[in-house]
Symmetry: C2
Subunit: 459 residues, 2 copies
């Protein structure tokens, strides 16, 4: 009868200690999303099959979790489809819903459906789980949170500037100093593809370039060659691999390279404005760095692209990323709405904070004070005291039974409670309670009427 329980691969239980740390990160991200004028929305965990399918490429379609229709779903499948016994043709007949794969497509769907209620420019944030049927591996899960902020309906580069500031604000607040916000512009990449004569291979070009960090110059060039980009074209793109100097020097080199590309020069001008503005305003602890090899896999970006690297010395992929995409809502029938957005990688930020020991120690404390239980009469007085402390905002608990003193103390130690209250027969007679500081061992007595005094002292 009894089963040995387990959870599906790629999913996780979060213990109280883990939830506390995750919520700490989420609260800080949320706080800054709000001060930057973003508003929260939430969308359903599952969307209609057709809303999601075809939006993430063929690979994406495969990785979307589909939900089986309820009831006698098979009776609705026609005989021809059924007798084919093909998963591909059967799926749309037995599933009309699918779990959210990211927050961007549901957001586009939301904007189109609610366009008449929305005041544009619309700055929204969304922090919800997404699901992907990816092969689980270290740091890759089938259920994970995305923390996204996007603006739709604003073409101004001010948005890009604000997003750089927002990254800086969040990471500074998390104590994660020395992050690098890398910036590039898809127009620059388009321009390069154009001037080297590989315009028709732009996607292959950017996909290969995106791997420079991981596989190095030689292998990137080999991949480009393999994809049909000529040796001559790759040679023309050589300045890309050897960019150096300050941002403005690099922008100068790019301008030289892109003299003949209108779109390329437009990208350079945009980069210039963003870099100059951030230079004028300043950042707290992050640095903004031009990285012309930054390409990002997603094809829908059309302007600025961002990626955030953890501080030097921490081995970790990007802990955030984003960019500008024109016309995302076009797929749902609303044309010419420009969007730009960024995302925070919760799981990776968690790992970085853990590695650098940056989580506040206070997160380890889940209970401020535990009142020991010495029996019915004392218990009632203790319950009153604990109730008073809770009303004062303390996280307080009364041990549920008059178990042996050592057992109760052991529990207090395991929970890591900083203060233990002793209210035994003697104290009850005297109308007092004794507080033991679990770290120092010091004890101090208070009168029962004066719980406030104790609460004020430890707050």
């Amino acid at each position: 009868m009894a089963q040995k329980p387990s959870i599906p691969k790629g999913t996780r239980d979060f213990s109280p200690a883990e939830v506390a740390k995750r919520n700490y990160i989420i609260q800080i991200i949320k706080k800054h999303f709000k001060t930057y004028g973003f508003q929260p929305i939430e969308t359903p965990s599952f969307e209609n099959f057709d809303t999601l399918m075809g939006k993430y490429g063929e690979e994406g379609d495969r990785l979307i979790f589909k939900i089986l229709n309820s009831g006698d779903f098979i009776s609705k499948v026609d005989d021809v489809t059924y007798s084919s016994k093909k998963s591909g043709s059967l799926t749309p007949k037995i599933s009309d819903k699918a779990l959210r794969y990211d927050l961007t497509v549901p957001f586009a769907r939301y904007v189109v459906m609610h366009q008449n209620e929305i005041d544009f420019p619309f700055k929204r944030y969304q922090i919800q789980p997404v699901w992907r049927a990816d092969r689980p591996q270290k740091g890759r899960f089938r259920e994970f949170y995305q923390c996204d902020a996007d603006v739709v309906g604003a073409n101004s580069l001010l948005q890009e500037v604000e997003f750089v500031q927002l990254y800086d604000a969040v990471f500074t607040d998390l104590g994660l100093k020395g992050t690098t916000v890398k910036i590039n512009n898809r127009k620059v990449l388009s321009g390069i593809a154009e001037v080297i004569g590989a315009k028709h291979l732009l996607i292959d070009f950017t996909v290969a370039l995106d791997k420079l960090d991981k596989i190095g110059e030689e292998k990137v060039k080999a991949e480009m060659l393999e994809k049909g980009i000529s040796e001559n074209a790759i040679a023309k793109a050589q300045p890309l691999f050897g960019m150096s100097g300050s941002a403005s020097e690099q922008l100068g080199q790019l301008k030289d390279l892109l003299t003949d590309s209108e779109i390329g020069l437009e990208g350079v001008a945009e980069l210039e404005e963003i870099l100059n503005t951030i230079d004028t305003i300043g950042l707290q602890s992050a640095k903004l760095e031009l990285d012309v090899t930054l390409a990002r896999g997603l094809n829908y970006y059309t302007g600025a692209i961002f990626e955030v690297a953890a501080p030097d010395g921490v081995k970790m992929g990007s802990i955030g990323g984003g960019g500008r995409y024109d016309d995302l809502t076009g797929i749902f029938g609303l044309k010419d709405v420009s969007g730009v957005g960024i995302s925070f990688g919760l799981d990776r930020i968690y790992l970085v904070l853990e590695e650098l020991d940056l989580f506040p120690k206070s997160l380890d404390i889940s209970l401020d004070v535990l009142c020991l239980n010495f029996g019915d009469r004392e218990g009632l007085a203790s319950l009153k005291l604990v109730s008073a402390l809770r009303n004062l905002g303390l996280r307080a608990d009364l041990y549920p039974t008059a178990a042996k003193f050592q057992k109760q103390l052991k529990y207090a130690n395991k929970r890591g409670v900083p203060y233990v209250i002793l209210l035994g027969e003697k104290e009850l007679t005297e109308g007092t309670f004794v507080v033991k500081n679990m770290e120092t061992g010091d004890q101090k007595a208070y009168t029962l009427e004066n719980a406030t005094e104790f609460a004020a002292e430890i707050n």
Copy 2:
């Protein structure tokens, strides 16, 4: 190409205004969960098929959303099963995961899986969505949040007392005064079934009794009769329908009725202790009421049962409920772990607060100050100012483009921003900015160096 987007029936998008109100409720519930010593856990959205199936009865099994296996799932179905073309036999072959149906079974699974890391008694809270393939109707959704707090590994009635206090604390904090926490005990119901000679029909008896509020005495009796409970037995149970007087008077009547039932008297004694303790300690705004007709549908309760009614005059089903269940973790192989827990009905609480106009007006404000945009030079100074205000914790925004003044003002009005900043050419030259109070129309000037002064004034 373009699709007219929609969302699956029974699901909801939440707008910024709705998220703000939902989060307001959730934050207050969380705050009190914490002060009462509960710790958060989170479990995956989907569990293994076998973890959930068979735990909620036949009807529950049908209402669980199953997730289609990835890849070529059909090729793994044997020919015999496939040729039967029966949804029931096919389902377990093409689905090995299912969406969480409630938070209690995943919690039981969590406790069993993590029993060696947990310090008992374990007080956990969990606020996550659950999914049910129910027919959607007013107030009933296919995706909705549950807000649960449970204690496992503590047999003391202190837990029941604390849950009554917890309901009182949350509803008082929400400004929802005059709620009634109804309490009963399954042992009393068992005792009654025993003394009237209908012990073998206990479930039918309690299921019928549970409907008293909705369908009235006559129909409840008719249902009992139909289920095979004799007229004689129903007549013996008559005192149940006519209980009156104070709680202690009702307890007296129950003791008379249950003289010959050990379990019944045990239930009465438990009720007595809980009622007396709450009487001694007092509640802030709720009242605790004995309701011997309270049965609650769920069969796993074994001791106290709770249900919370909204204040008089509000037509709404229960806004919270719970009880004690022994041996919940038994289904996963861990015996003799007693649990007791309560749940808050987020959607219904939302509707009640809306009806009674109890949401704080401050929730309508999503942006404290909007800085209008008068062009590039002014925009840069404005961005600096807005950045400073954000660093001071204000929710501040700069209109993204130098659009027409009226257009920007219209946006400010629609967003309901209380303060608008004007930083035009004149102000820039003078090194000042002007703040317009959108409600009163008053304007006041500040120097650009002194953003702190303005922030302090409006905080």
